[in-house]
Amino acid sequence: MKCVTITVKNQAGIHTRPAALLVQTVSKFRCEFHINMYGYKINGKSILGVMTLAAEQGAEMELEFDGVDENEAAEAVVALFEAGFNE
């Protein structure tokens, strides 16, 4: 299991397009991926789940990867957040 705490950087927050990009990226990996935020825990491979988070700019979340390729998955997802979802 690999855990990373991260802050949402892009101005518009995780609206539809970033949510889609996140799910698309992480779905390529075999490991499980969950997001913890304000006491909610959702499946990060579920676009509907990610959208319910309504994560705005500045929101802090804990990313939880669990599986054979957890390190590679974490790297790809963190890169997305760092790049502000290319917005």
Binding site: T16, S46, L48, T52, E56
Partner: protein, 558 residues
């Protein structure tokens, strides 16, 4: 004992049908669902998976369209919808609703989506309204598919279908399942659903309001398409009167059918060519029964709308079947006339779709779509030389004709260099439906191989009246002298430059109008196959002199 109720409607397709009521709802949003038996859970789960595949296919097709139309922005939104369809959490929740809570598949989907929507609503973020409508859209698509699975529909054979509104594709699907008659809350006479119902000879009423509070599923009913009434729970006396009436109409129909093999000639010896307007494969057999001399208008929009079609091969096969059914007569294929009321999938709404991006305007913007269709048409033409003609909808400017001809030549050359057979003389004509074209008919006549007057659009553009708007339906006057004057100008220009001119709008199916059109010099009428016998009957009893007189009276140029 239930009471007899009579509800007035507007006749869209004549005839009488007696049957039992089936209320058709596109999507049942009342989620007061029955529960299922434990033995049915596997079936519901697999239906859910099947519906997901169908919706995904549908969305991919829309995404491809959107990419062409408005770039990556719109298509990425639809890609997001596809991700929702594939959402693993959604699948878990639906499975649990089906297997543990014994909900039917449609209710399970509805409730799974509701729980996501509830969370989103409670967070109160400004981002939500937009997202929620996206999510609802995906939910409704899946629920729609589940509720339209033919195995989940009650038997329709012999039923009188009551619905709010129907799409043309729904009419065809339902007719296949054997329905007898239709009564719609909304809809207009010239809506596509009405046109299809007419061509399939299904008695149909539109603007038939107020049945929802009195009609029970399975109660007996009569649709009298001729008088324009729906009768619910008819008394025994009413029922027997209608049975007698129905017999009388059958006799009349037999008499009409004897006209099938006779030519449409006036008593003074002028021959008129009568052709059929066709949209669906299922209509082709009705064409032979009607005695039409080929297809004057082959609509092709169904390839644009149906979820499982749009491929080059299936288009070309349809055109070839049409050519076979029409042989030795011609088939006039109208290029995709999407836009306005016919495009339901494109997500961007235009403020004035009828004055907007439609017909040839779309095709010349999206050349690949046009080329794809021309490949299918010219492929069929190579196989059935001399029979296929191309007709462009919504032409407004002269240079649109030049652009279209360039594309036709390009595809013909492509076929030649691939050593495929071609018909070198495929005619390229236009619909005359924009008043500007009628006013410039002399110029257009020198550029095109034929004219076909589309009276529905010509009427709405001339009188500036939306034919789908019930508030102003009294303004939509087919017989307005201004419309006939534009037709007159078009016919004169066609005669001056010796090109054929036809009328393929709904006007041609009205025997009174047909007389006026013949009086104006039109010798080629195309209409719904079911209208053909009545028009022929009228032509065979009249003279050209009378018709010319009627035309002059109507047009006000005595």
């Amino acid at each position: 004992m239930s009471e007899e109720h009579r509800i007035a409607g507007v006749t869209a397709s004549t005839g009488i049908a007696i049957g039992t009521v089936h209320v058709y709802r596109r999507i049942h949003l009342d989620t007061d669902f029955r529960s299922i038996d434990a033995t049915q859970t596997d079936a519901h789960w697999s239906r859910f998976l099947q519906a997901l595949d169908q919706v995904e296919e549908e969305l991919k097709r829309i995404a491809a369209l959107a990419r062409n139309e408005s770039g990556d922005e719109a298509s990425s939104i639809i890609e997001t919808h596809i991700q929702m369809v594939r959402d693993p959490e959604l699948h878990h929740m639906v499975e649990s609703h089906i297997r543990n809570a014994l909900k039917p598949a449609d209710a399970a989907v509805y409730e799974a989506f509701s729980s996501f929507l509830t969370i989103m609503k409670s967070s109160g973020s400004r981002l939500f309204e937009e997202r929620m409508s996206d999510i609802r859209d995906v939910r409704d698509r899946i629920v729609y598919r589940l509720q339209h699975d033919s195995t989940s529909q009650p038997a329709l054979a012999g039923s009188i279908l009551l619905a709010d509104d129907l799409t043309p594709t729904e009419v065809v699907e339902l007719a296949r399942q054997g329905l007898k008659a239709i009564a719609l809350n909304s809809g207009g006479l010239t809506s596509h659903a009405s046109i299809i119902a007419r061509s399939m000879s299904i008695p149909t009423l539109v603007a038939c309001k107020g049945w929802s509070s009195v009609a029970d599923e399975g109660c007996s009913a009569i649709v009298d398409g001729t008088a324009g009434i729906l009768i619910l729970n008819p008394l025994p006396a009413t029922l027997s009167a209608y049975k007698t009436k129905q017999k009388g109409m059958d006799t009349l129909r037999m008499k009409r059918q004897s006209l099938t093999s006779l030519p449409a000639v006036t008593t003074c010896g002028v021959e008129v060519t009568l052709r059929a307007n066709i949209e669906f494969e299922d209509e082709l057999p009705h064409m032979a029964e009607s005695g039409a001399n080929g297809i004057g208008l082959l609509r092709t929009e169904s390839f644009f709308m149906a979820s499982d079609q749009g491929t080059l091969a299936s288009q070309q096969i349809f055109y070839e079947h049409a050519a076979e059914a029409a042989a030795p007569h011609p088939v006039i294929i109208r290029l995709f006339d999407v836009g306005g009321d016919k495009v339901t999938d494109l997500r961007e709404k235009e403020a004035n779709p009828f004055l907007g991006w439609r017909g040839i305007r779309i095709l010349l913007d999206r050349r690949e779509l046009l080329r794809e269709q021309l490949r299918a048409i010219l492929g069929a033409a190579g196989k059935y030389p001399g029979q296929i003609r191309i007709m462009a909808p919504m032409i407004t400017l002269l240079n649109e004709v030049d652009d279209l001809r360039t594309e036709v030549a390009r595809i013909q050359n492509e076929r030649v260099s691939n050593e495929l057979p071609i018909d070198p003389d495929v005619a390229v004509g236009i619909m005359v439906e924009v008043p500007a074209v009628a006013l410039q008919a002399n110029e257009f006549a020198q550029k095109v191989d034929f004219f076909s007057i589309g009276t529905n659009d010509l009427t709405q553009y001339t009188l500036a009246v939306d034919r789908g708007n019930p508030k102003i339906s009294d303004l939509y006057q087919h017989h307005h002298p201004a419309v006939y004057r534009l037709i007159d100008m078009t016919v004169k220009a066609a005669n001056r430059y010796s090109i054929p001119v036809a009328v393929c709008g709904e006007l041609a199916s009205d025997p009174d109008a047909a007389e006026i059109l013949i009086g104006l010099g039109v010798r080629d009428l195309s209409m719904s196959p079911s209208a053909l016998h009545d028009v022929k009957d009228r032509i065979r009893t009249g003279t050209c002199e009378e018709m010319t007189k009627k035309a002059a009276n109507r047009i006000g140029l005595l």
